[in-house]
């Protein structure tokens, strides 16, 4: 089994952290092969940023998959840019707070997560990505949620423990949304 995920958004939206949390968790808690590949534009901020994650039972040949099973779009730019990178039958997670016009593709599933709104409610726009991860994990069951959250505590909370509570809240809220979407689909 090979799962490939492409995560895209603005620089600064936590795209890279999203990918890395998945990877660290998979690498440190499973026997799977894992690769992570980031891709920046020239600008440091304001530009687009995206990353590729592959989690597989076999050695991974192409860490930057052209077509992926999942795309996570944190903004509409990424959504429109990458909508055709999802395999037919695959799933696209969109930050529905900012992605207003859903693209036209009937052969994939869209999971809408109002992550920016959730983050605003929680009180810090920086937890948008944690909400998306929660939704992603709950929907895909790709990794054990508690392990992912533990990784988040370890990697993000080390320097700023004050974020742990916010991150956890966002993650949990995301999971709810993801679970609901999954239930709806089934």
């Amino acid at each position: 089994m090979e799962n490939s995920i492409l995560i895209g958004g603005f620089g600064g939206q936590g795209v890279m952290i999203f990918g890395q949390l998945l990877c660290y968790t998979a690498a440190e808690t499973t026997d799977k092969y894992v690769t992570y590949f980031p891709s920046y534009s020239m600008e440091k901020r304001g530009g687009t940023a995206n990353c590729y994650v592959t989690i597989s039972d076999e050695p991974i040949g192409a860490p930057k998959a052209e077509m992926t099973d999942y795309v996570v779009a944190l903004n509409s730019l990424a959504m429109n840019k990458f909508v055709n990178n999802v395999y037919s039958g695959g799933t696209m997670f969109i930050n529905s707070s900012v992605c207003t016009e859903k693209p036209d593709r009937a052969d994939i599933t869209f999971v809408e997560v109002p992550a920016s709104d959730v983050a605003r409610e929680i009180g810090d726009s920086r937890v948008t990505n944690l909400c998306m991860i929660g939704a992603f994990i709950a929907y895909t069951d790709m990794l054990p949620p508690e392990k992912v959250l533990a990784t988040a505590f370890k990697k993000l909370g080390a320097k700023h423990p004050e974020f742990n509570a916010l991150n956890e809240a966002a993650f949990k809220k995301g999971m709810e949304i993801g679970r609901a979407a999954k239930a709806k689909k089934a």
Partner: protein
């Protein structure tokens, strides 16, 4: 009456104008531009005296001033 025009697409939300305006004319709302920036707007336009301080400090030349 003096007024400012902020081109939302050029604004990167540095908030220099917000900080600089002596009359607290400028602020932000929840609206974002196509790059995702919560751009500055004249939330208190009537207070503007046309001093052009905001435009002067705006690094991205997003503000034009009329008097």
């Amino acid at each position: 009456m003096p007024k400012i025009e902020i081109e939302a697409e050029y604004c990167k939300s540095c908030l220099y104008c917000v900080e600089a305006c002596p009359k607290k004319v400028i602020g932000t709302t929840s609206a974002v531009n196509s790059k995702g920036y919560q751009y500055a707007v004249a939330i208190n336009p009537d207070a503007c005296v046309g001093c052009a301080i905001c435009a002067t400090v705006c690094p991205d030349a997003a503000i034009e001033v009329y008097k």
